[in-house]
């Protein structure tokens, strides 16, 4: 086989992927840059405005508010996600007859669509008739004539959004922990046990340290995924009350498609892109240092 033919073959094999990749990933990157420099509506490209829209973003309190909301969601959901995922993995990893049952139950919500989980959440947390308030009244946690307004109070709304998100997506992270747990060789535990270690010591000195690499992976994936949060918030609170839960993607969407201002939306997307890029780079550096090698 000669090199020329192999080169030709490689070209043909790469071509379909690259056509789609260029059209739908690389081209939008450039297009976004162009759009962010123009006044651009759903109907047409209007006039060139240079960096004006970026300047406007820096002064736009709604942008900072939305960015903070997203960051707040990240802060609330990431640590709870990791702890819960690990907890569930430990439950599902116990040698019991219910092992597969637990795994299935914890993972099941992950396959449901965001619309379904959002509406189930929305209806469960309704005041007056919703399940959650009903159950609280039944348990006498909540007096009969009182209501908790889950979605019209900022703190409660965040609670609902984080709870629903955890319930929906923790399964995937649990599986990742589960496979990491199963990768820890039994011999390590046996050796430690022979040395007289207690269960608690086994957990702190063997299990947890072995899970460090996977935790770091989950952390990054979770950070990036949470920064992109949109659909469940859009469907449950629409960003309310008073835009206090409106994430950055929703603001981008509303500015572009509701207020007919694609140029500004594109500029905001670029700022978001930059933030996510920095997060990925930090993680890469961190991984390199931790493993002392090249990134995976």
């Amino acid at each position: 086989m000669n090199g020329k033919r192999e080169g030709m073959f490689a070209f043909l094999f790469l071509l379909p992927f690259f056509v789609a990749y260029v059209l739908f990933t690389l081209l939008p990157m450039l297009k976004g840059l162009q759009m962010s420099l123009y006044k651009w509506t759903l109907i047409a490209k209007l006039h060139f405005v240079g960096l004006d829209q970026y300047v406007q973003i820096m002064r736009d309190p709604e942008f900072w508010n939305a960015l903070w909301n997203t960051t707040y969601f990240v802060i609330l959901s990431t640590p709870t996600m990791i702890v819960l995922a690990l907890g569930l993995a430990l439950v599902a990893n116990r040698n019991s007859r219910l092992k597969t049952f637990y795994r299935s139950v914890f993972f099941l919500p992950s396959v449901l669509s965001v619309t379904v989980i959002s509406y189930v959440g929305l209806f469960m947390f309704r005041p007056y008739t919703g399940l959650v308030n009903n159950v609280l009244k039944w348990l006498h946690v909540l007096p009969e004539n009182k209501e908790i307004f889950w979605l019209t109070d900022e703190t409660n709304a965040w609670l609902v959004l984080v709870a629903v998100t955890l319930w929906w997506t923790v399964g995937i992270n649990m599986i990742l922990y589960l496979s990491a747990l199963q990768d820890i060789p039994d011999s390590m535990y046996e050796a430690a046990r022979l040395d007289g270690a207690t269960d608690r010591q086994l957990f702190w000195y063997i299990t947890l340290p072995s899970l460090r690499p996977i935790t770091s992976t989950i952390l990054l994936l979770q950070l990036i995924a949470s920064y992109k949060v949109f659909a469940q918030i859009w469907l449950i609170t629409k960003g309310g009350p008073l835009n206090q839960t409106r994430p950055i993607i929703q603001y981008i969407y509303e500015e572009g498609f509701k207020n007919n201002n694609l140029g500004y939306a594109a500029a905001m997307s670029y700022v978001l892109f930059l933030i996510l890029l920095i997060l990925s780079l930090i993680h890469m550096k961190w991984n390199q240092r931790a493993e002392g090698g090249t990134p995976a």
Binding site: L42, I43, R126, P127, T129, F149, L242, F257, N260
Partner: protein, 423 residues
């Protein structure tokens, strides 16, 4: 493995077929004009609109109208994106309040030249409504109704509280004090699980009520006539908002009601203020003995919030005059058959319909048709909806949730209106 390869290939083919499928032209239509018609009507509105379409298709064999229902929330976004992508409908619903944006974006076709061919007589419309669709002397839409904010009441409860007169009308002195007293009496006399007033804690309906009261006080929109700056009559704006807020602080309303329509429908509220479109729904509710009345002129002037459904012809690159005339014929026909549409609750846009026996035999409507001439439409600003959502609703909501005082809410509102107009 080969089989999987084949499978994959066949999917690729499938995807390509899909690609071809969507660019295909309209099929041969043997002389029939087929019209795509976009609507945003739900529930009762949707049923009566379908009835109209069916009758039209039956009586106009050469025109076939196909209804495409888009959800309320996304309607205008989808309309704009579809029209600009060349996939817009032939005829579409628009609210008059949204029309300025569509006209200024160049999305709506001016109808004056086509009107003659489709036998549209502009003089036959209610002139208060018609004014709202004229831009620079040109007509851009066919109004089919107006749907003002009115007051519904549960006769059983009003009677129980001694607030119903011999004709089944509410006994309510049209002053601010009289209005409050009315609800205070209801609160006192009715069981504790019945709210005097069903209203959401914020959102569109509160904005509508505010607009009505502000107009009654003599306020005239929140943008200046040149549409470039805010012109908020702050004293009146504040008075209207404080009045609404007091309805909540007096506990006349079930707080944060997730579904205030249901509350009224299930007879858990005595009164509810909303648009006339609810009439059709209440009529069909078994055991609900209700009445409808204009919003009392508690601040002196007869005025209320209202909007109007109109039909527009969205622009398209390959505009076909035959289609456009057919579309306009349809639009005019819908307006001419306002008595069918009125079954949903709306007030027809042509005064002649109010005299038709079919309309006269509908109950309730006659109790509020007079309101059509008292509707205060918003000015022709592009920013009507963003002002409504971002300047008014947002700040009013904050006020009702006790995050802002009414004074702060009105201040913020004026500032936001200015910001939006200068954007």
């Amino acid at each position: 493995m080969k089989r999987i390869g084949m499978l994959v290939l066949s999917f690729m083919v499938l995807a390509m077929v899909g690609l071809a499928g969507c660019s295909q032209a309209d099929p041969a239509n043997n002389g029939k004009v087929e019209l795509t018609y976009w609507t945003l009507f739900d529930g009762g509105d949707g049923d009566y609109m379908n009835q109209l379409i069916q009758q039209f298709n039956k009586t106009h064999p050469h025109i076939q109208v196909k209804n495409v229902k888009i959800s309320w929330d996304d309607y205008y976004t989808k309309l704009m994106t579809a029209v600009s992508a060349g996939k817009g409908p032939d005829v579409a619903v628009s609210h008059t309040s949204k029309l300025p944006e569509l006209v200024n974006q160049g999305l709506a076709v001016p109808l004056d030249e086509l009107a003659g061919k489709a036998n549209v007589n502009w003089a036959s419309f209610n002139q208060n409504i018609l004014k709202s669709i004229v831009y620079d002397g040109r007509h851009y839409a066919v109004p089919i109704d107006t749907h003002p904010l009115i007051l519904y009441y549960n006769k059983k409860y009003l009677k129980e509280a001694g607030l119903l007169d011999g004709q089944g009308k509410p006994i309510l002195e049209p002053t601010p004090e009289g209005f409050v007293k009315f609800f205070a009496t209801l609160k006192e006399k009715l069981p504790s699980d019945v709210a005097p007033l069903a209203q959401p804690t914020g959102g569109q309906d509160i904005y509508r009520l505010w607009w009505a009261l502000y107009s009654q006080l003599g306020g005239n929109d929140v943008v200046a006539d040149d549409l470039k700056t805010a012109s908020v009559d702050k004293e009146k704006a504040l008075k209207a908002l404080s009045f609404i807020k007091d309805l909540f602080t007096n506990k006349f309303v079930k707080l944060n009601d997730p579904d205030f329509y249901k509350t009224f429908q299930n007879q858990k509220a005595a009164v509810m203020i909303t648009g006339v479109w609810a009439t059709g729904m209440w009529e069909k509710t078994k055991g609900l003995d209700f009445g409808a009345a204009p919003l009392p002129a508690i601040f002196g002037k007869e005025a209320t919030w209202g909007d109007s459904h109109t039909l527009i012809l969205p622009v398209s690159q390959n505009a076909d005059e035959e289609k456009q005339v057919a579309a306009l014929t349809f639009a005019n026909w819908v307006a001419d058959n306002g008595h069918i549409w009125a079954q949903a609750g709306h007030i027809p846009s042509k005064p002649a319909i109010l005299e038709k026996p079919e309309f006269k035999k509908l109950p309730y409507r006659s109790d509020y048709v007079s309101v059509a001439s008292h509707v205060v439409f918003s000015k022709h600003s592009d920013n009507n909806w963003s002002i409504r959502d971002q300047a008014m609703i947002k700040n009013f909501d904050a006020c009702l949730q006790n995050k802002l005082t009414p004074e702060q809410a009105i201040e913020n509102m004026e500032k936001t209106v200015n910001d939006l107009l200068q954007k």
